[in-house]
């Protein structure tokens, strides 16, 4: 039924205000158009990685009051090209005693699913390509978001297997960390999509974008209030949780524990010397960042549709122009990644797991319950429902603050107790206190240390 209506809207794709392509528009392309689209996505991702690395290095340098790469090419634009060439020309070391097949396969396993996931990201409306009307998206399926999740879960194997096959303690620790981290953050990520599914009523990416064309209205006390069309605003808790999980999913700062160079050298790719295999890992990391940014844009930020003030102009969502909005949104999210990397320190591993399991997942579940109740009750479109919701929310907040104050009181009591113990131990070191030697003891400078006169 809904497919039919979308199809009829699409009979005239140039009409302004049409919500855009739906599932019915896919599967009619001739093979060569599919090949062109696939190639364009591939090239777009590779170029994106080349300039993404440059942009990240440049941006983080400016945030740290330095210049960053500025030697190769204008503004250092060719720096990544030079690095790539260098990696291609270096000797490709295969450590002895590693599991050769898997050591070789790991970089492939990590990058192929990352690139595949981009095939269902919608980048624009139906355009005319060499005389064919075709949507700017390689393909779509009724469960496209599930496909993206599945691809990202296959990508973990690259990290885990690279860690294991390297036969190095650092690498295997990185692999272990990443397997646990990605599995737990994937749950929170999947849950943060549920609210979007509830509102959009579909798992197809192109239809989710179409659903964000118009927010609709909510009737409250006899007034029609226009709702925001982006799910990022309408479902802001889901969006915030997704933003946090996406850092965990792609192993970026502050959740980059699988490669934490402070403690694990380089984590899972320690044994991959700077050869093309290492370049594949680098590529996969950036492509993964683009994938999660693309998902954020598609599911929460209105997809390829123009942002609000521009969307008032009729020509904003027609033809090839939406590619620009899509690209601009991706670049902005990428800059956000860099900004976070420049500002936040890495969290500890137990903090990471506790945050994922004890904060993100329960919060998400409670929020989904709330959204589902709201969706179920909204059928009547009545004011009592709103009042009921307000009571529920206020009640939940009251319970939360009650627990919070109790916890706070307990925490303060505990801190006081510890402070008392410290006080006592500081005064009498003999009673098991801190054996701090006086600071003027000779062993600080060595017993035989002689003052060297300067003159």
């Amino acid at each position: 039924m809904s497919l039919l209506t979308t199809a009829s809207v699409l009979a005239s794709p140039a009409a302004p205000g049409s919500p855009g392509p739906g599932l019915a528009d896919f599967g009619h392309d001739p093979v060569w158009i599919s090949i062109i689209k696939g190639l364009v996505i591939f090239v777009f991702l590779l170029l994106g990685v080349l300039f993404g690395v440059w942009l990240e290095r440049k941006l983080i340098s400016r945030m740290q009051h330095r210049y960053g790469p500025n030697r190769a090419g204008k503004f250092g634009l060719l720096q990544t090209v030079a690095d790539g060439l260098k990696m291609g020309l270096k000797e490709d070391l295969m450590p002895r005693k590693v599991d050769k097949v898997i050591f070789f396969l790991a970089p492939v396993i990590i990058s192929v699913p990352a690139i595949l996931a981009y095939s269902v990201i919608p980048m624009g409306p139906v355009v005319s390509m060499f005389g064919h009307k075709t949507p700017l998206q390689l393909t779509d399926m009724p469960v496209a978001v599930l496909f993206i999740l599945a691809m990202s879960s296959i990508g973990v194997y690259g990290i885990v297997l690279a860690g294991w096959a390297s036969k190095s303690p650092y690498a295997i620790l990185g692999g272990l960390r990443s397997s646990a981290q990605v599995v737990s953050y994937e749950i929170a990520m999947g849950l943060s999509f549920v609210a979007v599914f509830l509102y959009a009523g579909t798992l197809s990416t192109s239809e989710i974008v179409a659903k964000q064309a118009d927010g609709g209205t909510a009737t409250l006390f006899g007034l029609d209030i226009p709702l925001p069309s982006w799910y990022a605003i309408l479902l802001i808790p889901s969006f915030l949780i997704y933003v946090m999980t996406m850092f965990g999913e792609v192993n970026r700062v502050p959740f980059d524990l699988p490669e934490g160079e402070g403690e694990l050298v380089a984590g899972y790719h320690t044994e991959y010397s700077s050869s093309l295999k290492f370049a594949m890992f680098q590529l996969a990391e950036y492509v993964n960042v683009f994938v999660v940014s693309g998902v954020a844009v598609t599911l929460f930020l209105g997809g390829w549709r123009a942002p609000w003030p521009i969307s008032l102009w009729d020509g904003a969502n027609v033809g090839w122009l939406p590619l620009l909005w899509f690209f601009a949104k991706i670049v902005l999210i990428f800059c956000f990644f860099v900004w976070v990397r420049a500002s936040l320190p890495r969290v500890r591993y137990d903090q990471l797991m506790a945050f994922g399991w004890k904060v993100l997942i329960p919060l998400n579940l409670a929020w989904i319950l709330l959204v589902a109740t709201f969706r179920a009750l909204r059928v009547e479109q009545s004011t009592p429902v709103f009042i009921l919701m307000a009571i529920v929310v206020i009640g939940a907040l009251a319970v939360f603050f009650r627990f919070d104050t109790v916890q706070q009181r307990r925490r303060e009591a505990r801190a006081e107790q510890i402070e008392e113990e410290f006080e006592q131990l500081r005064e009498e070191p003999t009673a098991g206190g801190f054996p701090v030697p006086p600071l003027d003891l000779p062993h600080y400078h060595g017993a035989n240390r002689k003052e060297v006169p300067s003159a």
Binding site: P142, V143, L146, I154, S179
Partner: protein, 177 residues
């Protein structure tokens, strides 16, 4: 629907058969390989082939959930467990179980029973494949309309398993003395 012959097989049926062969072959390799981590990886291939079978049968939703849960979570956790304890690179000689003959007999017998039941019961059954029959919408409607009770029972079962795992793994919960 009787009257539909299996010969000549359609392309889909051939693909389905090949995927089935991959699944069975990799499942055999899981238990015969001498490398511990490779066994887990063959399990991934087996689950992937199963997901392919679901795809051929137009059960898209089940197929991607299979990839997401079994490939993406279950085997990753298996690997996690193996690597946390021991994960030797290369062959280990102590992987053969002492009761492998009995296990093989039981496995063959179970397979025999299942295959004979399926062949006996559905020999001439032929389901026409309809695109979209396995979409999330239809699946959800049928689960929450026709199969609510089994669904809820399964949820309670999973919850019980979850609580059981927590109780087993926590050392500070004492049994009744």
């Amino acid at each position: 629907m009787s009257g539909v012959g299996f010969w000549p097989p359609s392309v889909l049926e051939v693909v389905f058969l090949l995927l089935g062969l991959v699944a069975v072959g990799s499942a055999l390799l899981v238990v015969t390989t001498r490398q511990l981590v490779h066994a887990a990886l063959w399990l991934v291939v087996c689950f992937g082939a199963l997901a392919g079978c679901y795809l051929v049968l137009t059960a898209e939703f089940v197929a991607w959930v299979q990839v997401l849960i079994y490939v993406g979570a279950v085997v990753v956790l298996l690997l996690f467990g193996i690597m946390l304890t021991r994960a030797p690179i290369g062959r280990s000689d102590d992987l053969d179980s002492g009761n492998r003959v009995v296990a093989a007999v039981v496995a063959v017998a179970t397979a025999g029973v299942l295959v004979s039941v399926v062949v006996g019961g559905f020999q001439h059954a032929y389901a026409d494949l309809r695109p979209g029959a396995g979409s999330a919408e239809e699946l959800g409607a049928s689960i929450f309309r026709n199969w609510v009770l089994p669904f809820e029972a399964l949820s309670v079962l999973l919850l019980a398993a979850l609580i059981g795992a927590i109780v087993l793994s926590r050392t500070d919960i004492k049994g009744r003395r």
